[in-house]
Amino acid sequence: MRPLRPLFVFAVLFCAVSIGGPLRASDAEDIPKLFDPKVTTLENGLEVVVLEDHRAPVVTHMVWYRVGAADEQPLKSGIAHFLEHLMFKGTKNLEPGEFSAIVAENGGQENAFTSQDYTAYYQNVSVDKLPLFMEMEADRMNNLVLTDDIVAPELKVVLEERSQRTDNNPAALFGEQFAATQFLAHPYGTPVIGWRHEIENLTTQDALDWYNTYYTPNNAILIVAGDVKAEEVFALAEKYYGPIPARDIPERERVQEPPQLAKRTIEMSDKRVREPSWRQSYLAPSGRSEDQANLRALEVLSQILGGGVTSRIYGNLVVDQKIATNAGAYYNSGSYDNSTFVVYGNPTADHSLADVEAAVQAIIQDVIENGVTEKELNRAKQKLLADAIYARDSIRGAANIFGGALASGETIESIVNWPQHISEVTAEQVQDAAREVFDERQSVVGRLTPEDVKS
């Protein structure tokens, strides 16, 4: 085994969390650590994150590439996702399908997924199999082999996947149209799976070009979570991934949105739609924003407005006024570029989409003008902090949190300090965040209706 020479190792200890109400910790010793990642970077640039959890003799092994659908070139939509499928099709050392067969024969469960910002591969497996799976994942990081006769049926599989996820489902089709309206220029307006007419024309060479450009250790993050010791994982990573040479990768520069100056409205009617729905989406900052406090305030705001049955929007529209059967809000800062803050609702039979929109807008105006109450603030913070503790029950979930955030350009510090930063959010920050994000001119309204219903 080659000697381990990590360039950078640190263990982030969880900092003090101070929160109001029943969760209040009396002193610092009572405060539980959330995640305690151990991190190193190999000489070839592979970032390695280890999350130790010794409850069960299992491990999650993931490789995240910092490349996703939003990095695709024009006319090639869907290639990031298509390559994800093709990564199971064999290497210089393994026959097509052999990778998955070996995973299964060793009691492993595996899959992969693609987003706008990343592509990730994982295996969940008994901990003694980790070296084998590292060897195989490292192999396909460097030795993928693709031929037309292997690629052709998989293209059909992806088209069937598109039918299943999107074309069969009017709400999903509307979602695509909505995103395309939200983003005039930025590639987030193109669906991850790709437009059908472009998927149909993807070739073996397109896939190989994509692989050769982006699949390199200096563009990847290795996450190992489970019943392992960090030093041992670092040594294994060095052994299996260390020999893969780094390659130059293109700068991650995407077309950025021009300023949005006009509210956009998009409507779709379809006879397969049986219940009308409304949503409004506002451009919002992403996880790379320098103003991290504002991101946390937006997360608290979305919890206050739309987090569950005690939230303002649900309480007002669904419980009190009976305008909507369901309603809420969500915001996810976890994207590389612009994110969105979304409010939504489905009207009851006695009410219209316009009623829902008016009621939600009244709540938004109230928050802008009068802010939120301390009670709302504390309840939201407690919920988010409890979620952070509940998250510790799933080591796979923890691996996903780190992989997704790091691949989207966030830092380890911002992840591990998330609960503390949430606990520090003030009512004033929430109100300021609301004033900033709820700019009508930077929003898109969507109405999806049955064919015979007028909005």
């Binding site: 109400g21 067969a101 060793n106 595996e110 069937e160 219940e275 569950g308």
Partner: protein, 449 residues
């Protein structure tokens, strides 16, 4: 109350502690009985300050009156909407303030509840859970609100091809038996449920005698025992729960088509399976893995997806119910290729019946099914699920130890024999939602259209 309770709590009985050995680790199931006689299985996990409890009561949606199908489901959706002195809002706000997760669900054979709390709020969380199951209010406001949500969802499902195909399959397979009805009910039947029905449901269907409990997390047996009595003590000793009549799915081939204007047809297929207590269960389990249960490794995936690219997903699974057993499967494929894909399914059924499986397939299936099992014991939530599922299926705590041997004992002959019983293409019930080309409805599916 606290004082009196403590005096009462002392004689906690430990029936058995079962150590289950997994590679290098053990899951220790404690079978406990509270002072008041309530039994539960407990796995202590003090490393995270969380407590999870799952509870299931035997007898689920299949016991609903036919004209009130969805009763159990509506009860499950409204049981956390106010109880005792708490109206809906007060109850939900109390949960929310303590970040307690509490909910209920109904399936064909069971009514279930789940609770998750930070361990510092365990007492209060159990108290609220107990209030919900022993003294639910079913106030008009939340019941009508939730009924509206369920009806909106049911209406939406009327154009959802997967839901349409699934519902039609059970109607076709089970005729007049309660298993033919969807657990959520229909627009008509859910509208017919009254508040009195809900009250009667809570009083008669949730008893101590038909309840199983699994608890995992930062709590000891001595702490849990008294809590069980506080939480469930007020439940009736006996629930008025019976079991629905034993039945079998339709024993003849049928193809039903539900016309839908969609590019990809959704296909549900299936037929005779077996129940969980059948001696052949493990053989069927291994057989199913090889046929269509293993994600990338199954014969159906190889033939239909990998070789031909006709589907994104094709799968099979065993669906053992209390009064019937099913072997189910499904896929989605373009309207033009439904017939081809269905023929490939039938070919594979015939092949596995005629030839059985190879020694290599059997060995690979066993190493997967045994090797991957520890993955399902890797979080408190999953362990709580398994504790309840095991008790619900009358499995002993030792099952976790015995499982590898039960699977390893399956032979090629066992699989071939079981395949004769389960996978008869001449008795395959098929429902297609979509616009399949060159495919015609037939058998009972043609008559009932």
């Amino acid at each position: 109350m606290q004082q009196a309770f403590r005096a009462f709590a002392a004689p906690l009985i430990f029936a058995l502690v079962v150590l289950v050995s997994l590679p290098a680790k053990a899951v220790e199931i404690q079978k406990i009985q509270s002072p008041g006689g309530i039994k539960a299985w407990l796995v202590e996990e003090p490393s995270i300050p969380i407590v999870s409890m799952n509870v299931a009561w035997r007898g689920g949606a299949s016991l609903d009156p036919v004209d009130k199908a969805g009763l159990a489901y509506l009860a499950s959706s409204t049981m956390d909407e106010g109880s005792g002195d708490y109206d809906s809002k007060a109850f939900q706000e109390t949960l929310s303030d303590l970040a307690i997760q509490l909910g209920f669900d109904a399936s064909k054979d069971s009514f279930s509840g789940s609770l998750k709390t930070l361990s510092e709020n365990t007492e209060e969380a159990f108290r609220l859970f107990g209030l919900a199951v022993t003294d639910p209010r079913f106030d008009n406001e939340p019941v009508e609100r939730i009924r509206g949500q369920i009806m909106s969802s049911l209406n939406r499902k009327l154009s959802d091809p997967g839901s349409l195909a699934g519902r039609a399959w059970f109607e076709l397979a089970f005729g007049d038996h309660p298993y033919s009805l969807p657990s959520e009910g229909t627009l008509e039947s859910i509208a017919a449920v009254t508040r009195e029905d809900l009250v009667t449901f809570a009083e008669t269907r949730l008893g101590k005698d038909n309840m199983v409990i699994g608890v995992v997390g930062d709590i000891s047996a001595t702490e849990l025992g008294p809590l069980l009595d506080k939480t469930f003590g007020a439940l009736p000793d006996k629930a008025g729960v019976s079991i629905v009549p034993q039945t079998v799915p339709l024993q003849e081939a049928a193809i039903k088509i539900i016309p839908q204007e969609i590019p990809q047809s959704v296909v549900v297929f299936g037929g005779q399976g077996l129940k969980r207590d059948d001696p052949d269960y493990y053989a069927a389990y291994v057989l199913n893995y090889i046929l269509g249960g293993g994600s990338f490794q199954s014969r159906l995936t190889e033939e239909i997806r990998e070789k031909r690219g006709l589907v994104y997903s094709v799968y099979t699974y065993l669906y053992p119910m209390k009064s019937a057993g099913l072997q189910m499967g499904g896929f989605g494929t373009s309207n033009a290729t439904v017939k081809t894909a269905l023929e490939l399914v039938e070919t594979e059924l015939e092949r596995i019946r005629a030839e059985g499986v190879t020694e290599e397939e059997l060995a690979a299936a066993k190493t997967y099914l045994n090797g991957s099992f520890p993955l399902s014991l890797s979080s408190n939530d999953r362990i709580a699920d398994i504790l309840v599922a095991m008790q619900f299926s009358n499995l002993p705590a030792e099952y976790l130890n015995d499982r590898p041997q039960l699977i390893n004992a399956v032979t090629q002959e066992d699989i071939k024999r079981v395949a004769q019983k389960l996978l008869d293409p001449d008795k395959l019930i098929v429902v297609v939602a979509g616009k399949p080309e060159n495919l015609e409805a037939s058998g009972a599916g043609a008559q009932k259209n």
